[in-house]
Structure formats: C-alpha cells, structure tokens
Amino acid sequence: MAATKYDVLIIGSGASGATTARQLTKKGIKCLMLDAGPAFDYEKDRVLRPVYDLPYRGFGKPGRFPHVTQANEFTAALWADEKENPYSYPANDPYYWVRIRRIGGKTLVWGRASWRLSDLEFKAKDHDGFGDNWPLAYADLAPYYDQAEPLLRVSGRKEGWAQLPDGIFLPDESKDSQATARFITAATKRGIPTTKQRRAQGTLASSANLILPDALATGNLTIVPNAVVREVMVDKATGLVDGVNFVDRHSKRELHAKARVVVVGASCLESTRILLNSGVANSSGVLGRYLFDQFYVKNTVQAIVPEARGGRPAAGMVGGTGYIPRFTNLKGKDKDYIRGYAVDFGSGGTPEPKYFPAYGEELQKAIANHTGAGFNATTMGSVLPRFENHVTIDKKTVDAWGIPSLHIEARYTDNELKMAKDAMNTLAELCEASGFELLEKHDKMVPPGESIHELGTCRMGENPKASVLNKWNQSHDVKNLFVVDGSSFVTGGSQNPTLTITALAMRASDYMAEEMRKGNL
C-alpha cells in the first residue's frame, strides 16, 4: 500500500491538535493525525468497580506515579507510565511532569475551567515592565474565543471586567448558598471581585467527543493512534519540513509520514522535546527556554462554617463554588510583587480527617459533626516566565522507544512566594470576616508542573532572535512548521490555559489554511 502524502500532519489529539484538525478539515484540507497513545472506547473501557476489589484498595501500586498526584487506582491506566516515559530534573528541584497518552490527551480529565486571557497578559510588559509582550493582542484572539466557548460548552456569568473578558457562555443562574454569599459579601467589601466558575459542561468535555468527530465527519482526517513521534524531518534542499519519523508503540517499527505542513500539538513539553530532538526551529537558541506554569497552593485555607456543624446542614446553608479573578496590580503596582493570583473557593465539603487533632471515637465524632460544614479555597498564581527555567534533551534518559527525554529545570522565585503569602493572608482575613472558623492556612506551593499548566519553551514573539514562533504559531525558521499548544505562550496569567490554547489553534489554523490556499505553504 503506497502511503498517502497528506496536506497537513498533526502531532497530538488533545485540545490543540484536535482543534487544528477540525478547522483545517472543514476547509477541505487532508490531515493525518498521529498520537502516541491508544484509541479506546469511552463506554466499554470504563467500568464501575468497588474500591475493595482493586489490588491496592484504592491506594494504587506504590511508587508507580511518584510525580502524578492526580493519579489514583481507578485512573492509573490513564496516565503516562513514568517508567516507560522517564525524565530528569536537578536533585533538589523536582518537576512534576504529568502526561496522558490516549486519544484526547489531557482533555479526557481536565478541570474544564475556561477563562480568557486579557491584555494584562498579552501586553504584560507594557503593564509592569517584566519579560515580553505577546506578538498579538486580546482583540486578535477574541473572535476565536467566541468560537471556542460554544465548542467547549462553557457556562459562566458575564461581569464586564477588563482583566477577565466575558465570553459566549451558557448562562449560570445558580443561587449561592448562605455560606458562599457571606464570603462573597466579605470579598466585595474589600474590593475583591468574585464570579461563578466558567466551565465546560457535559458528561465528557474532551477533544475526543467535542472536536474530533466534526473533523472525522468531513472525511478529511485520518487518525493513527500508537504513533510515538521521534523527530520532525527537514528537506535539506528546501530547508522545509517534509514529514516526521515515528515509532509504532506496540511493535517499535520505525515509520515515516510525509506532509506539506507539520503541526506540533503534542502538549507543551512533548512538543518542545520533539523539536529539540529534531534539531529544528531553534536559530534563536530559546527553544526550551521560558518554562512557566501556574503555581498552586491547594487548600490555602480550610475553614468551618460554624452553623453547619452537626452533620446535616440545613438546605441552602452551604454548597456551591466561586472564583476570584486576579485583582492585584491592575492599575500599576499595589503589592510587593507583580501580576496576581486567582482563587477557586467552595463550601459544603467535609474537611479531611487530618485537620482534626484526634483519633479513635473522638475523631469519628469530629468528622460526623463537620460533615458538609467545610469551606476551602485554592490559590492559582501567575508565574513569571524566566529564561533560566528551561528544558534540555537528556540523552542518557530515553523512553521505552529509545527516544531521548527531557531534563527539566524550573524554580519558583521571590515573586511567586510573596504572591502565595499574600493570597494566604487575604483568604484567611476573608474567612474571618465571613464568620468561618479557620482550621489551617498555608502558602506552600505544589512543585512546578503539578498544576498541569506547563507553558512556554517554544514561545511566540516579534523578534526571531528571541522567540521560536511568530504571531501565527508558525516557526520563524521553517515556514511550514507550526506549534499550536501551550508551549507557544509568552505569559500565562492565573487563568487555566486550555481555552486560550484552543483559540490560538483556531487562529493559527485559519492562517495556515489561507496560506496554503495562496500557495505560500
């Protein structure tokens, strides 16, 4: 069978790869999608099982996922195996690289929070002087956010805030519980805004059910699972990429696929790894540089809603969630750090047993007495993109297919530490003002990477000497090479990135299609 040469070869089936496929195939462009993971049947490959029938009673096999705190014994098969997919980091600076290798990628289990960035992020340097601006503005991306939100079925409430632009939402008219309303009132009195969550809705909100079916329906998309990409290949005569080499995950057979255009959307660090292993798109020397994410302080505050004690809170007393968008340094610098943080908060949960200084019957009584009486809030802070936070190829560490992996160096610095401390103190103050009893407050950030919001390392920019991609997610060096995932970000703010990744992939795809139509690609 002679191999077909496709118009566009797309690496990855997550938010960015699937979106690119959808946009291009609808315009009649023939696409080949390679994904390192297997296909699966969402109905048949997931079953209800009692926890006691699992080999480790829900604990999971010890040591299997030392860097994936999200994994449990129910979901163990979902996460990329760390032994098959090793990587390295400096001894005292762990990086938690969390990956999923299945059709749909991390959209199979993402948190679904869908927030737009604003010009506080796109033009961050203009605002506070640090780092670089994006080579595009909010107005450039807004029309694509308008398409991405309905595609992902995002619900939310419009607020009219400049730092968190409104979108095309399924309306959220849910009422706040008394406890949540008290917290909102306390925040409002201090000039701290709050809103409803903006989230993708539905039983499953994945590229596998929301995006890829549209692309397949055109008849223009071919998806090949279990294709572990080794490298992007360059035609030495033209300097253009002409395809990729990949390894069949099962047989380890080596294959080559050709295309006019190659789109890399394998997830932030996997994309950069592929490019570094390929030795392309790095005339600037910044490929792999400016790694950042959002720092998380999980359960920054854990409190009790006192009147909800007793084990059966009255209807309407507790429950519901909300969100505090960035509210610091909006018009200048009003803190001892730059940029800001966001907060997820909610009431109605039961605090974990560890919060109660007791054991035995006393502990069980405390848990019963506080069932549903909890309030907690988690901080998600902006991390500054720094040149020194970077990835390189670690030739000594290879995956199960013999492909060199990454050495990852990332550290949080004073700006993030000060931000986390401010968030802790602010949230503790709000809890007190709300009449909640604080069980614990802290500012201990999870290790870099654990938020699964890794960004940068293949960033956009106007200057080809200081960036890898132009404003269309197109390589400065190789015009038929595009990188469409979170690696292209210049800054990230405190907003979850998937919505912006989707919008960027749409925008890049429209440009790509037009350039192909003109014969420029």
């Binding site: 296909a39 098969a77 047993p353 200084p357 054991y359 201990k444």
Partner: protein, 183 residues
Amino acid sequence: MRRRGFVGTLAAIPAAIPALSAQEFPKLEFAVPDAGAEPTPKFFSKPQFAALKKLGDLILPSINGTPGALEARAPEFLDFLLGESPADRQKLYRDGLDTLNAQSRRTFNKAFDGLDATQSDHVLAPLHKSWNYAEPADAVGAFLRAAKADFLAATVNSREWIAVVSQRSRNASGTGIYWKPVE
C-alpha cells in the same frame, strides 16, 4: 510451494469465530481470594506488627457496629502495601513502630500493644497536635500522621466497611469509575 502452503493456511481459518450461546458458555461465579483465605503478613517483624495492630485499633476502632481497622483487616493490608512501597516509606513505618515500642517500654515497661488506654494515649500525643503543612520535626510524629491517614483509607475502602455503611447510606457505595488498561 511455500506460497501455496501459506494460502492453504489462510483458507483454513473460518470467516468468523462462531459465537457461543449463553447456554453453551454460562456465566460463572468467582470469589476473591480473601473469601476463602486469611492474609499472611510478612513485611513487619512480630513486635512491629503487634504494635501496628494496636495502633490501627486505636485510630479506628469498631464503633456502633461499623467495622474498625481490625475487622477491615487494615493491619494485614498495610503490611502488604508497605512491603511493596518505596524504601523511605518502609523506613518511616518500621522506625515509627519501633519507636512506639521503645517509648512504651521506657515509660511503662511493656510493649505498645500491652498498654492500656491512658498509657497509649500518652504515647500517641502527637496525634493531638493541630495539623499543619509543616512536616513534623520528629520521626514518630511523621509516622503517626501517615499511619492515621493510611488506616482510615484502608478501613473505609475495605469490603467489610462498605458492606455495613452502604446499608445505611446510598452515598456510600464504595464504587468508582475504573479506567481499564488499553493495549
């Protein structure tokens, strides 16, 4: 000749594997190993395991007919789990249990599993401290923090616990969505 042989092999394969009817392959009932056997602890030493059982009974005793750690076989399960765990976790547990026994002998002249309620409460004083994100400075404090969490999870995730609690509450099914491994 070789080609003909290959084609002949292909021809011998039926077009489709005929499906067996339910009568030809009836659904068989199976049991889990614990239904007909007792777990055999092997990771901890006898004094360590005795202390572990005592600790489990103190952290989560049987209350009002709800199985406690002992009824849930949580000590036996943790013996298995720790035997599979990374070395630093194994050391935390072994050293922690040894320390409980040593403190008990030093203060009360007997092993931890022989202490009465007042005496064991004295040894378990770290569990009365408020929890915070700072790691306890002393090894036994860190061990007790880990053991408390592990005993609670090992118990509430047990067949014995869920069988009782699910009778009282529809929300306590103890089930979750399991993602099957995909080849």
